[in-house]
């Protein structure tokens, strides 16, 4: 049962979804997420699930809307510009409080971009990109193992909070192959009941899934209710991985693939006397504010490493206590940091503060 | 069933009616006219003065967009 299998990130996420009880996937091909679609195409029928290749990403997310309204665990996978097409309906999922899992295997942008990996969809997933006051829960895996575990978790969070949940990965994580221990199959009978689902009003009052409340007052009430939900989520669902934080004077903040690369050099830097540590956000929303508590006692600078021109760095600036300097190292457009490059950044900063 | 011996009541809910006159225009016996009175929404509502001649054709109810007309036979 703890057997390790070799899988790509896309495949591991798809298999984990099925083990979490997902029985509906609609998707439109886009590099570098298409393998997720292909995996679901052969795997879902094996478990009597429903796979549909839709005619567009817009159609895919709306098919998910329908399956979710019917009470099924449902998932879509896409990338960057494809996810951009889904934003309106993601906002509708938030307003109707429907669960659903959206996997974004990001590629370089803006626009059509290219198929190299990026982290420049951080804003798209955590600060919108649809209309209105809503939040997606966003999880950022950094390994094929986490592609599996966090996708599995996403369904539980989506059902518990009646909210869409996103997995934000990138092309590298989607395509690379690593050993993974897959989660156990959920017994479908153990999945949370959904008494609110539209399944035909037999023996009960009829259910409504309304994208728009009927009155102006109800719209405000809905916003208040959503806000309360998000405060609960912020308090309860922050996730991060700390490394060497207890005495760190230079703290790297990085998620996903960037964190993998930084992780390569931290031990070496430590061995050379550099008091470096790292906060690796695993929940991108809610942003792990608690990770920064009390760090002002010893942290003298932050280095935000991200594969973008600067997105998560804003949240670090907003969150870190006091006015500790925050530096940004990164670029968008498909640029990847190297261990050497990261190490040089650490060294450079360390020389300034030591 | 011989309609000629039945009494049919054309029951128009005057609060639902919006005075579109569809029923007035299709009644073969011209039994329905807009009232001079207003309902609470501000519409002149359709009303029947005398439904003795009603044959129960149901044209009025079929045309009504408000589901405001029911026909009761006894």
């Amino acid at each position: 049962m703890n057997e390790k299998v070799l899988m790509t990130g896309n495949e591991a996420a798809a298999e984990a979804a099925i083990r979490a009880g997902c029985r509906f996937c609609s998707a439109y091909p886009i590099t570098p997420s298409s393998e997720f679609l292909e995996y679901m195409a052969h795997r879902l029928p094996q478990v009597e699930g429903i796979f549909i290749q839709s005619e567009s990403e817009i159609s895919a997310i709306n098919m998910l809307f329908g399956a979710s309204a019917a009470g099924k665990r449902a998932i879509v996978a896409s990338s960057a510009c494809g996810v951009a097409l889904m934003q309106e309906t993601i906002s509708y999922l938030a307003s109707t409080q429907l669960p659903g899992v959206i996997v974004n295997i990001s590629r370089a942008g803006p626009g059509l971009g290219r198929i190299t990996p990026t982290q420049a969809d951080y804003w798209q997933m955590t600060k919108g990109g649809g209309n209105g006051d809503y939040q997606l829960v966003v999880l950022g895996p950094a390994s094929v193992q986490e592609m599996a575990e966090l996708t599995y978790l996403a369904f539980d969070l989506a059902d518990k909070y009646r909210n869409p949940v996103a997995i934000l990965a990138d092309g590298m994580l989607g395509q690379m192959m690593e050993p993974v221990v897959l989660p156990k199959f959920r017994d479908l009978n153990s999945l949370p009941q959904k008494p609110w689902a539209v399944t035909g009003a037999k023996g009960r009052e009829r259910n409504l899934v309304l994208v728009a409340p009927y009155t102006d007052e109800e719209m405000i009430t809905l916003n208040e209710e959503l806000d309360r939900k998000y405060r609960v989520l912020e308090a309860a669902e922050q996730r991060w991985e700390p490394t060497f934080l207890d005495d760190a004077e230079l703290v790297i903040v990085a998620f996903g693939t960037a964190a993998r690369i930084a992780g390569d050099v931290i031990e070496r830097a430590r061995n050379e006397g550099i008091k470096v540590g790292m906060i690796r956000p695993i929940s991108l929303w809610p942003f792990p504010k608690d990770a920064f508590k009390n760090l002002e006692a010893h942290v003298r600078t932050y280095l935000v490493l991200e594969m973008s021109n600067g997105q998560i760095v804003d949240d670090v600036r907003l969150t870190r206590p006091g006015d500790t300097p925050v530096h940004h190292y990164g670029k968008g457009g498909g640029w990847k940091p190297t261990s050497k490059g990261v190490y040089e950044q650490i060294l450079q900063l360390w020389r300034c503060i030591a | 069933m011989n309609k000629a011996h039945k009494t049919i009541t054309i029951a128009i809910d005057d609060e639902r009616c919006k005075g579109c006159e569809y029923c007035c225009s299709v009644c073969p016996k011209q039994l329905i006219q807009l009232s001079d009175e207003y309902n609470s929404k501000g519409y002149h509502y359709a009303a029947v003065e005398n439904d003795e001649e009603c044959s129960g054709c149901r044209f009025c109810a079929i045309m009504c967009p408000e589901v405001a007309i029911e026909l009761i036979a006894d």
């Binding site: 005619e55 159609s59 309906t89 399944t199 009003a201 | 639902r16 589901v67």
Partner: protein, 247 residues
């Protein structure tokens, strides 16, 4: 004994539309069909953006709304998940033939086993009377006040003909809601559409020509006349496809 009553699948709410609006007639026909076919406990309606967004108010069964144009995709997810239920979309002309044209075409191409009712009133009512894909040539709208000029904005779209040409297993019909006779024919089409779904014979699509007196800037009775004189010649009524096995 009542010889004509509100369908029992309909609620007590007042019809929330303008005087003379065809939506009220169309939705009542759907309610009548649901009663006659005993679908109250299994039916799920999908009401998207447009005046249709309020359709849920009129019924007692499960309803979901949908983003603009996307009901056929929502219906695909819903019906494939719950194949024993009866699922229908109730869309306007903008929802089905403009923003939602792609989703509707592909649902028809896939011969999805649900029913789409398209209310065609040749104008965008909910947003104040703009041009619709089905607006007639020379018909004035607030976005093209001097009338639709095909050299500027193209020709009206004939959805029934288009769906009939792409959907290989379907019941496809165009009906009108401007006269007692036509409404009776429309009711038959609604029943056949639902039966097509019940018997798993494929896709079903009924385009319903409908009055929008407000959007046309006409009195209701004049709107009915305009439908007779102008709309029906442009949009011929009839059954355009009937799947094998329906009758």
């Amino acid at each position: 004994m009542k010889t004509f009553i509100r369908p029992s699948s309909m609620s007590e709410n007042h019809v929330p539309y303008c005087p003379g609006c065809g939506h009220g007639i169309a939705l009542r026909l759907i309610g009548e069909a649901i009663d006659e076919l005993n679908l109250l406990e299994t039916v799920i309606g999908i009401a998207p953006v447009g005046c249709a967004i309020r359709a849920w108010r009129l019924f007692k069964f499960d309803f979901t709304q949908a983003p603009h144009g996307r009901s056929p995709a929502v219906a695909t997810g819903l019906k494939r998940t719950l194949p024993e239920n009866t699922v229908f979309c109730y869309q306007g002309d903008g929802d089905s033939a403009a923003i939602g044209l792609g989703e509707l075409m592909h649902a028809a191409l896939r011969c999805e086993n649900f029913t789409v009712f398209m209310n065609n009133n040749a104008v965008y009512g909910a947003t104040g009377g703009q041009l619709a894909p089905t607006t007639l040539i020379d018909q004035p709208t607030v976005s093209y006040p001097s009338g639709r000029d095909p050299n500027v904005i193209g020709y009206p779209i004939k959805m029934t003909e288009i769906i009939a040409s792409v959907s290989k297993k379907a019941y496809i019909a165009r009906v009108a809601l401007n006269s007692v006779r036509n409404i009776r024919e429309a009711k038959k089409a609604v029943l056949k559409a639902f039966k097509t779904q019940q018997r798993r014979l494929g896709f079903s699509f009924v385009e319903m020509l409908s009055a929008c007196p407000t959007g046309w800037n006409m009195k209701p009775l004049d709107a009915l006349k305009w439908m007779e004189e102008k709309m029906i010649p442009e949009y011929p009524l009839g059954e355009y496809a009937v799947t094998e096995g329906l009758e």
